[in-house]
Symmetry: C2
């Protein structure tokens, strides 16, 4: 069985391990069991018809005396590209709008309040090629591009916050960025937030196309909760998650595009660790499928030139502050993961574990400041 | 099957899942397979005789042109207490010395260069009780206590660095600390490093006994590599791991004492995330067994008073910078985990993934400094 054909870790465990032991295996691997969310039959049916996976789970919190529950439904969408990478640019964008629109319809039927798409969702993840054309033509204005207008319509129609990670062209200075646009459920653009850390690893030649983001660690106060977006490679940087949390994020989205050969064993670790360490929910989203390009490119690994990046392994999931996580979407299919999370859990777990209170941040601020100076001497003890 | 009887996640997966799928399951869960280390037959035999588990694994690195490999063998020891908690203090300490001595003999046969014991290894983890007597009698001088002398003998005898986490009594000011003593393979005390973050969660009433450590983030330059010790609850704090790494640690040990009901789903996440994020090896060690105390105590959870803390779930393991990890030791038995790691892997993975280079630490130093000020205003965007 090749890595790209293996559908799901969770399903494999369930198929083979006897119930009694499975309970312990799942507890150790995934934490407290997340309940299944009952989704409307019409949604299930339409997802089947439109050929994408639909899963629903629920993270509950304790009842409090002074606060009512704060349930919010979050939708994560993972998908493959629709047209070949050599189709006309506008056709590719339009086809992706149509596909995502179909999936958002179902999210709306499931009562989703906030939906997030995958990184650079309007295009193939073409940065492996190092070619500028035609890929830079996919870049759009965050405020007024086709895609933002499309998302504003969805947001208004469904009273849904839409997080739309795109390749942004800032037109004043003609600069490209890797950006998530946050559209409020009112339909207005609440703001944008840019990818803070840009990879230089494997075929992730993104530093050819855009620089480190300059928007800091913004948190967006939506009607449904305080959210932030840590784009892709930023998930490897614990300080990045941490600073969104220090600004008050209750849910941090991590729209990504990452491939099986490189990062898969890290995928289930990093966003989940961030949820635990920061007492918040985190949402990892990764595309699926293998994207083929007309022109060959090399990978700086001594191997032959080739025309694809490897397979994107999907496996989108939600991690909770209590150490639990939802099952992942499939590794191979388009999918919509709906999770209902009671945001009261974030403060409850913070009160229980108290990482912010025991964090000694003043001291780390000093130590980190010293460590970044040119004359920094590491604290090394020798015999 | 109760949580305390379930022996091992890894063994359960291997028992039930067919080979072809098992390969994918293990790749996704544990990363690149760690080779088994061939251990001497006499060591295997004596471990069997002395009734503890012995496992060996190897983390390899690529061959380089300018550096020779830097293999180091690390031993992690997990164990239950030997005598009941109401036995005389000195008898309990002596019995633990004897047990650990037996296990270190086997570590030496396996060529271990650096051995690390579990947190507060000379005593029951009695901090749940909130009683001062007799538990504070277990506190010893880090420089001249029985236990340090015992470790110095082992170190000299076996040319082995010994990391000995104890309850320390600083005699000048009569202050208790949770401290790891690092004894060089020469037999001299290289130094000590104290627990930086003290829990206030569940029955971990340690803040009744000792305060946050004042030794910063020391790294010890040993003959076998640069090592640091992040004690127990410090593993929940990504900044703690990070700062040891910023001071140059290649291996960070995490001697712990933690129980199944509280932290088990987080156990395999946190140290492993730290290995990934900091391009270093991390070693989690947790005791095993259930410890009973004569006097009842309550847990602040509305439940009845009781006489134990729950079961410590062992599962000690090593995580590598490439996202892989060793299998865990058993959840229920004493054990010695021997891993050979080529420390060249740390720089190789850093060169590949470049998290330090892409970390933007100057900006985080500023942001964190601002975030700790009394007049800090979080960066929240509203409609």
């Amino acid at each position: 069985m090749s890595g790209s054909a293996f559908e799901s870790l969770e399903k494999t465990l369930e198929k083979h391990i006897p119930d009694e032991e499975l309970k312990e295996v799942k507890r150790i691997l995934f934490g407290k069991e997340t309940k299944k969310l009952l989704l409307p039959a019409c949604a299930v049916e339409i997802a089947l018809e439109r050929d994408f996976e639909l899963q629903g789970y629920m993270f509950e919190a304790s009842t409090e005396q002074l606060r009512t529950p704060r349930p919010v439904r979050v939708g994560l969408i993972q998908n493959r590209i629709v047209l070949p990478t050599d189709a006309p640019v506008l056709d590719q964008i339009t086809a992706l709008h149509k596909r995502i629109g179909e999936m958002v319809d179902v999210a709306a039927m499931c009562g989703v309040n906030i939906v997030c798409f995958q990184e650079a969702w309007t295009m193939p993840f073409a940065f492996c090629t190092r070619e500028k054309e035609p890929w830079t033509e996919f870049a759009e204005s965050a405020e007024e591009g086709y895609t933002t207008r499309f998302c504003q319509e969805l947001a208004k129609k469904y009273n849904m916050v839409v997080i739309s990670p795109i390749l942004e062209r800032e037109e004043v200075h003609n600069i490209l960025w890797n950006t998530a646009v946050v559209v409020s459920n009112s339909g207005s653009v609440l703001g944008k937030t840019r990818k803070n850390h840009i990879p230089r690893v494997g075929d992730f030649n993104e530093s050819t196309y855009y620089m480190e983001g300059n928007t800091g660690h913004k948190v967006f106060q939506t009607q449904f909760g305080k959210i932030a977006v840590n784009i892709c490679y930023g998930r490897h940087h614990p300080l990045n998650w941490f600073m969104y949390s220090m600004n008050g994020a209750e849910i941090i989205f991590n729209p990504s595009a990452t491939v099986g050969g490189l990062s898969e064993p890290m995928w289930s670790i990093e966003a989940r660790n961030a949820a635990i360490a920061n007492h918040c929910f985190t949402c990892g989203i990764n595309r699926v499928g293998t994207e083929h390009f007309n022109n060959e490119f090399t990978s700086g690994d001594g191997k032959k030139a080739h025309q694809d990046f490897g397979y994107f392994y999907g496996s989108s999931y939600v991690a909770a502050p209590d150490g639990s996580r939802s099952p992942g979407l499939s590794r191979t299919r388009d999918g919509l993961l709906v999770t209902e999370m009671d945001l009261n859990l974030t403060r409850q777990i913070s009160d229980k574990w108290s990482f912010k209170m025991t964090g000694r941040y003043e001291e780390y601020a000093e130590e980190l400041t010293r460590a970044t100076k040119q004359d920094f001497k590491p604290n090394i003890i020798k015999e």
